[in-house]
């Protein structure tokens, strides 16, 4: 490192008092400037968050009323909210067992040989653009049936959720103390019994957290909804998953594409509600995760 060399080059005089030379002052200045830049970067990110959320709150608050939340198209958004909840609910019901089982496979059964490939599959799945998953489900389900449906969108969302749930669950399962496993083994408890009655319950908090996070992610996903489930009008609540189900993200997208000021107000209102739900889910999952981690690592 150049700084040290520069020191050595100076002639060493033991009688000199140990004070900051010009060089040191310059280095401190450089260090301080860089630190300020790093702080500025962090502040900029927070500022962007505040600006976006503030815009949504300021514009959205005007739209919100009891009628807006409960009524159907064209006055309100009730069916969209319920539709989104339905689709995300179905998606989570499909994704959670698969995600948890994959995590169990990784931590309990895979061994050294199989961990990497399965992990890689999860990583690739996690990195897949959601539009490609949407195109895939379109070819697999919507095109043969010649009909869009909420179920197709839910299946697409579940593909998005699986790697998130698996990753989160795996992290918590790894936190379960090995001593608990060994104690169960030493008592002659079969593997499957110890997994179902000891390891999974200990990790349950983390599993719930991962699931909530994936729900928050899925609730805002628009690309699959747009390709698979975008034709519902939203005047009535639709409970049949084999039909198109009205939902929030597609509605925001459609409104933002039309140049209609009233539509924009509705879109802001929808955005506000969606963002509040998603941030609330995110915060509660964070609190839950901290609690369950503390419990496990105590």
């Amino acid at each position: 490192m150049s700084i040290f060399r520069r020191h050595v080059e100076q002639e060493f005089d033991p009688t000199q008092p140990l004070v900051a030379t010009g060089n040191l002052r310059r280095r401190h200045l450089a260090s301080r400037i860089i630190q300020c830049l790093a702080i500025a970067a962090a502040l900029a990110a927070v500022a962007v968050l505040v600006i976006v959320v503030w815009a949504v709150v300021a514009h959205g608050a005007k739209a919100i009323s009891w009628e807006f939340i409960t009524a159907g198209y064209p006055k309100g958004i009730g069916p969209y909210l319920i539709g989104t909840a339905e689709i995300v609910g179905i998606a989570t019901l499909l994704a959670m067992p698969v995600g948890v089982l994959i995590a169990l496979f990784l931590t309990e059964f895979a061994g050294r040989r199989w961990t990497r490939p399965v992990q890689l599959i999860l990583d690739v799945m996690n990195g897949l653009p959601s539009i490609i998953i949407a195109v895939f489900i379109f070819l697999l389900i919507v095109a043969p049936a010649e009909q869009q449906s909420g179920l197709a969108a839910a299946i697409a969302l579940s593909i998005i959720e699986v790697p998130l749930i698996a990753r989160g669950t795996q992290e918590v399962l790894n936190l379960v103390p090995g001593a608990q496993r060994e104690a169960a083994d030493a008592l002659g408890v079969a593997r499957w019994r110890s997994i179902l009655t000891i390891i999974l319950p200990a990790a349950s908090g983390g599993i719930v957290t991962a699931t909530i996070l994936s729900v928050a992610r899925a609730a805002g996903e628009t690309a699959p909804m747009l390709l698979l489930n975008s034709l519902a009008k939203g005047d009535v609540v639709q409970f049949n998953p084999f039909e198109e189900i009205p939902n929030v993200p597609v509605r925001i997208f459609q409104l933002s594409e039309e140049a209609n000021p009233e539509g924009f107000t509705e879109a802001w209102g929808l955005s506000l509600i969606l963002i509040v739900i998603i941030l609330a889910l995110g915060l509660s999952s964070r609190a839950l995760l901290n609690r369950s981690k503390r419990k496990l690592t105590r």
Binding site: A38, V56, P97, I132, V135, I195, L226
Partner: protein, 332 residues
């Protein structure tokens, strides 16, 4: 695990019963096998889905591939009514918006990582970290809507004219348009989307750099920055590369927000301030209104290209993180 069983008797009885009862042994052998098989089946299911995704997408792209071949990639014109399809403008738009996101977002995100991991006291870190992650939680459709309504007009009225007037001799900063929907706007939105991803990965990376190494450098007289530059950054280069590749994968594949703010063009041009299109955004915009089988198939062709690039950047990220590991172990 609240109540510990009374030492000895109960657990001993359990152990003895396990050893002695053949029926229970049979149940346990079956249970072990069944649970293993179910878990393995879930993992296999994930693999099957991945393979199916590739298969279906490539099959869908087959008609377009048969007609245009690889020339699709370099051909410019995208005219659905004339059955002429070429992806050059869209590939170009995808690359330029993603590059913009990485060039602006990468350094900012890594600085945030440095701040959170090395400079901020724990209380500040615990406050800012969740805020940065919240940025990632904002749905892309809302970010895109914000880009259309709020960011677009600001760009048109102030930032784009300023850049055009001062740096206009560079072809990137051409004549600003009137709507604010532009490649530049899309690049900025993508920047906002990749920053939290790269920042949180690089924060974890920097936190994993051994404390002793940093203390050693500090004890030799290094300033804070020299510790970071001399110890922290060199030992995490591979991890930061992997983090940026993850961000790149996200930026390449983002469809909705980009389709809202980019304006829906298909040409390739250098000016950032004109409308354009990316592969993902065009799929989102035209899929539901495709005019012919060939049009749909050309969109699948784009999806297949996107799949190859996206999976490629992901695999590259994991390979870089693995191969040049070191402190890069924090990268997933």
């Amino acid at each position: 695990m609240s109540a510990t069983p009374p030492a000895g008797t109960a657990s001993l009885k359990l152990a003895r019963s396990n050893r002695q009862s053949p029926a229970r042994k049979r149940v346990d052998r079956f249970g072990d096998l069944a649970l293993f098989l179910i878990c393995a089946a879930a993992a296999v299911l994930a693999l099957v889905v991945l393979i199916l995704i590739a298969k279906e997408t490539f099959e869908g792209a087959q008609p377009a591939f048969a007609k245009f071949g690889l020339g699709f990639i370099t051909h410019q014109e995208w005219a659905p009514p004339l059955d002429k399809f070429g992806g050059r403008g869209l590939i170009f738009g995808t690359l330029i918006t993603s590059a913009m996101a990485l060039v602006i977002g990468g350094p900012v995100a890594i600085s945030i990582g440095i701040f959170l991991a090395l400079l901020a006291p724990a209380s500040v870190r615990n406050l800012i970290s969740p805020l940065v992650e919240m940025l990632a939680a904002i749905p892309s459709v809302i970010l895109g809507f914000w880009g259309v309504i709020i960011l677009g007009p600001v760009l048109v009225s102030t930032i784009e004219p300023f850049l055009h007037n001062t740096l206009g001799f560079i072809p990137l900063f051409g004549e600003p348009q009137t709507t604010g929907l532009s490649i530049f706007n899309a690049g900025l939105i993508l920047t906002i989307m990749v920053i939290p991803i790269i920042a949180s990965v690089s924060r974890d990376l920097f936190m994993a750099v051994p404390r002793e190494l940093q203390d050693g450098a500090a004890a030799l007289g290094s300033t804070r920055w020299e510790v970071i530059r001399g110890v922290v950054l060199p030992s995490t280069v591979s991890g930061m590369t992997a983090a940026c590749l993850l961000g790149l994968g996200r930026a390449l594949g983002e469809a909705i927000a980009v389709s809202q703010v980019v304006g829906g063009g298909t040409e390739s041009h250098l000016s950032l301030f004109k409308t354009g299109g990316t592969m993902a955004s065009l799929i989102a915009l035209q899929f539901n209104s495709a005019v012919s089988k060939l049009h749909t198939s050309s969109l699948y062709y784009l999806a297949a290209l996107l799949l190859i690039i996206g999976v490629g950047s992901n695999l590259l990220a994991s390979w870089v993180g693995q191969r040049f590991g070191g402190a890069g172990g924090a990268v997933r």
